[in-house]
Each structure stands twice: as C-alpha cells, then as structure tokens.
C-alpha cells in the first residue's frame, strides 16, 4: 500500500523548513496527512501542505534526526508514501481566522486557500520565533483578504510576542465563523480559551506519536480518540473533554509523559 515516489521539487521555505513535492495520485483533503518513509531511517507523519490532485507536497521543519534528514533530500531521491490519513478541516466557514505557529502553517494553508477560492474570507495570524522563520508568508499574504497579522518572539517582524496575543485580539474585535490553528500545543490551548470566550468554533490540528496511521496500534491514543483517524483535526469542544490536550502525550513505548 506504499507508493515509492521521487522528490520532484524542493524549496527552502525558511532556514529550518523545506517543502518537498512529489507526484502522488490519491485524493487528499486539507488537514490530512501522509506517512512519509525515508528508507533506512524512519517513517513519520507529515500533513499535506499541498493537496492538489496530482502533485502533492509536505513542508517539514527540522526537529530531530528524521526531519533533518528529510531536509537534506534532493530532487530525485525516492521516499515512500502512504495515506492520506485522518480527518479534514470543514471548508464551509465564510469568515475564517487561521492561526499558525512554527511549522503549523503547513497544515492550515491548503484548507484556507480552498475557503478563499470558494469565496470565503480568510484572515491569518502567523507566528514564529523570528522573521526569517515565518512560514508561507507570501502564500498567506496572497490568500488573506481579511489581512495577515504577524508575531515574532524577537520582534524582528510584526508584533513582538506570541501569535496567541494577536489572535486573541482578532477574535475579540472581529467576527469569525471558525478559527483553525496548528502550532505548539501550549499555543493551541491558549487559543481554544480565547475562541471559547469569543464563542467562535475552533479547530486544532494535533500531533502525537504515530506508528500505524490507521487506528490500530494505539500509539497516537489521545483521550478516547486516535489522532491518526479521529484527528488530527479536533474541535475545541471535543478538546475540552481530553485532559491530555496541552498536558500529556505518549512516548514511543506508550507511556504517558508531560507534553
């Protein structure tokens, strides 16, 4: 059930982030992910940052060994792909706020583009540690008819501080049908609170250890759910009942450890 496909395009998005594109036919919808196998190394989950019919893409941030190896791939190198797996963002909101931190932009970008294409309005709050690390700045600018607001930890661009501050202000000041977010879990926990206060439905893309990808091995257990099939997109409502959110994750042995 794996497809072996060569990387056909590589693009450095930030000094620590790369987009790899490959021709992978299976239909995918925004929010879904693939398991990408780097032979001899590991197989890891990556959201599809490009979900179009033929040429798909993932956007990878250097975290540990495997992601760093993925960053070093050059066009022509073959990887294994399976999926897409998981659920998707609901594309019906007319007024959408997207809040992306770190590599999270990779997860929310294709869905936000679709909302825009369907005539919805998209506002983006984009955060990173520093200006150079802002992911998809141009891509978000192009789609954000509702404006793109930026936050960096070091203040090298936009608001100095957390993107959650920017987002909290936006949901308070303006009207949205939905908030989508992906980024560090602490960030998403804060956002869920802000969205709840503002009574806007919020959807978070959550990350957990993944092995099978098909709701079998329990590696991605998240409350009574499996991130690989019930997620990765969870509503704020649902997250309220999952004590692990923002608190615990499971390591590769299944032990519950501090997130």
């Amino acid at each position: 059930m794996r497809t072996i496909a060569p990387v056909v395009e590589k693009r450095w998005e930030t000094p620590s982030t790369v987009t790899l594109r490959f021709d992978y036919a299976p239909l995918a919808r925004p929010g879904q992910f693939v398991m990408i196998w780097l032979p001899g190394d590991d197989e890891v989950p990556m959201s599809l940052s490009y979900t179009s019919e033929g040429r798909k893409g993932v956007t990878i941030k250097a975290m540990g060994e495997t992601s760093r190896h993925l960053l070093q791939l050059e066009p022509g190198t073959r990887v294994g792909l399976r999926g897409p797996y998981g659920n998707t963002f609901d594309l019906s909101p007319r007024r959408l706020l997207v809040v992306a931190g770190g590599s999270g932009g990779a997860v929310v970008a294709p869905g936000a583009e679709e909302v825009r294409r369907k005539g919805g309005s998209v506002t983006v709050a984009l955060g990173a540690t520093t200006a150079k690390e802002l992911l998809f700045r141009e891509r978000f600018t192009a789609m954000a008819d509702g404006g793109l607001e930026i936050a960096t930890d070091d203040g090298t661009a936009g608001h100095r501080g957390y993107v959650t501050d920017v987002a909290a202000r936006l949901v308070k000041e303006r009207s949205f049908d939905a908030v989508w977010t992906c980024g560090p879990e602490v960030m998403m926990v804060k956002l869920v609170r802000s969205a709840e206060e503002a009574k806007v439905p919020i959807f978070c893309s959550v990350e957990r250890e993944m092995k099978c990808g098909i709701a079998m091995c329990d590696a991605c257990a998240f409350g009574p759910y499996h991130v690989c099939s019930d997620g990765p997109v969870f509503s704020g409502e649902r997250l309220r009942d999952i004590p692990d959110f923002g608190q615990f994750k499971r390591d590769a042995s299944g032990r519950r450890v501090r997130a």
Binding site: K211, I214, M216, S253, R256
Partner: protein, 304 residues
C-alpha cells in the same frame, strides 16, 4: 435472539468477540472505548517488565483487503506504568484480559503477579510473537519451555491463564497440549504468521525490522485449522483469533471449536463498529441454525 454470552475458564463474557492484544491496547481510554463500542472484553497490549519503544517505523504494511503485516516490536509502557491504564478499562466495566510477555518463566511469573494486582479478570500469555527476538516464538515454539512458563505463571497467580500459541510451528496443537498439561485454563489461537514484505523499487524489506507477522483474512483459514486441531486434542476452552472480520468468520471459528473470539486487524480495516456488526450478525446466524447459546454451537462442525 440467541444468548451471546460465553464463559472462558470461569470468566463470563457478555459477548464473545474481544479486542485482540496489540490493537487499541496501549491506553486505558482506548480499551474502554473498544468495550463501549461493543467488544465483549478487551485483551491488553502485551506488557513486559520494562518500557519498550518497539521497532522504528515502518512497522506495518497492508496487502489490499486481505492482509496486514506488522512488526511493532512489542512497544509497551512496562508493567510499572500500565496499571493506571487497566484501571481506566476496568472502571468502564470492561472484562479485561492482561497480556504479558517475558524472556523466561521467572519473568512471566513476576509479570503475572503484578498483572493480577491490577484487577484483570484473566491473563493471556503471549507465547507467540513471531518477530520480537528473545520473546515470543523462541519461547513459544518449544513445548517444554512453554510448559515451564505456564507452570510458573500458574504458581504465581490464581487468575485463569490463557496460553496464546503460535502457528509458526509444525503442529500448533502440540503446543496447546503442552500448555494444557502444564495447567493453562484456556488456549488462545493464533498469533500472526511469520512473513515478509519487500519493496521492489527500493529493493529492501519494507518493515524496519525486516520480518513481521501476517494478520487479517489471509490467515483465517490457517487459524481455523489450528483451532480445529486444538479442539480435537485439548479439553480446555479455545479463544479463536486470526482474520475474523465478519459474523460468518466468527461463527466458523465457533463451529471449529472456539468458545470466544478476538478481533485484531478488522478493527483497523472495518472500524471499531466491527464488534457490533459481528455480534449482531452472529446472533442472526445462531438463530437461523436454532442454537440458543454460543455453547451449543461450539465445535459443531466436528460432528460427523
């Protein structure tokens, strides 16, 4: 409708199809969810002495609709951490069978004691993992070593002991006989079948570990043969597992001699509702055949 409850070595199960070990079994919340979704009980992931990360990915490969290969490498949080998870499953009202694996009889016995303390209703000894070196098959393929493990566990606990045997042997029933003689209270058959997937483009095994265990429909006829043979040669109850996906599959295992069932791969391919579907369908099949209970149907295909 026919009464779907069944009893395995004193453990009363409201419905016959349990969650097989290694599927949805690392976390208590998942075990509880499987029970709520209709499983008649849940078998935990096989738990060892220490936390174990298992093998690197890829750990699974799917073959169409008919098979699945896995080499998870027995990842598990270890017996010290695991009781919390079991607590959650028990709190949900589930019948819980604690699965354990070890490197020798002493390790098994120690694990059995600790597992008993968690409040599980029975123990399943994983004597049959086909790919974890030093565990499973190496122990489970030698009737003598297997018997020692069973004896040690029986001494260490008062819980019913289910011995899970491997099909990767000349005669699985020989292992079942050895387990019975050593005091096992039930036989679970079968675990996965040793197999391999090769990627032709990359020219290497697909799974990081190389070999894996085949599960799903492809092994159903193999499991049925094992259960049939075991039924003819032991008197203790048999729990049938291997490729069960539909009510008919479950029924065939019962007719071959199984008193309860476990579903693994079908949970991934059909979703957790498979328990409800299997139980509903099984009720209909029993009704059509005028069996009032599971008990009445057990082994009925052996009658001449």
């Amino acid at each position: 409708m026919a009464d779907l409850s069944t009893t395995v070595a004193g453990v009363v199960l409201p419905r016959p199809a349990l969650l097989a070990s290694g599927i949805w079994g690392e976390s208590g919340a998942s075990l509880a969810a499987a029970f709520r979704a209709g499983a008649g009980g849940v078998v935990t992931k096989s738990i060892g002495v220490k936390p174990r990360e298992g093998y690197p990915n890829p750990t699974i490969e799917q073959f169409g609709e008919w098979g699945m290969l896995n080499a998870m490498g027995l990842p598990n949080p270890g017996i010290e951490e695991y009781p919390k998870e079991i607590g959650q499953a028990l709190a949900a009202g589930a019948r819980v069978v604690g699965s354990i694996f070890g490197g020798d009889a002493d390790e098994f016995a120690a694990l059995a004691r600790k597992m008993e303390a968690t409040g599980v209703h029975a123990l399943e000894l994983n004597l049959s993992c086909p790919h974890a070196k030093g565990y499973g098959s190496e122990i489970g393929q030698d009737p003598q070593v297997l018997a020692e493990v069973v004896k040690a566990v029986k001494k260490a606990t008062t819980l019913p002991v289910w011995a899970k045997v491997t099909p990767n042997t000349q005669d699985t029933a020989l292992l079942a006989e050895a387990a019975e003689k050593a005091g096992a209270d039930a036989i679970t058959a079968i675990n996965t079948v040793r197999a391999l997937a090769i990627d032709p483009v990359l020219r290497r095994p697909v799974l990081a570990h190389g070999f894996g265990g085949l599960s799903g429909p492809a092994i159903r006829p193999i499991g049925l043969a094992c259960v049939w043979k075991i039924y003819e040669r032991v008197r203790i109850p048999i729990v049938g597992v291997g490729g069960i996906t539909t009510a008919q599959d479950a029924y065939e295992y019962i007719l071959a001699g199984a008193r309860a069932l476990e579903l693994g791969t079908a949970v991934a391919t059909k979703g957790i509702n498979v328990f409800r579907e299997v139980h509903e369908g099984l009720g209909r099949l029993l009704d059509e055949a005028h069996f009032a209970t599971i008990e009445e149907a057990v082994g009925q295909a052996h009658r001449k």
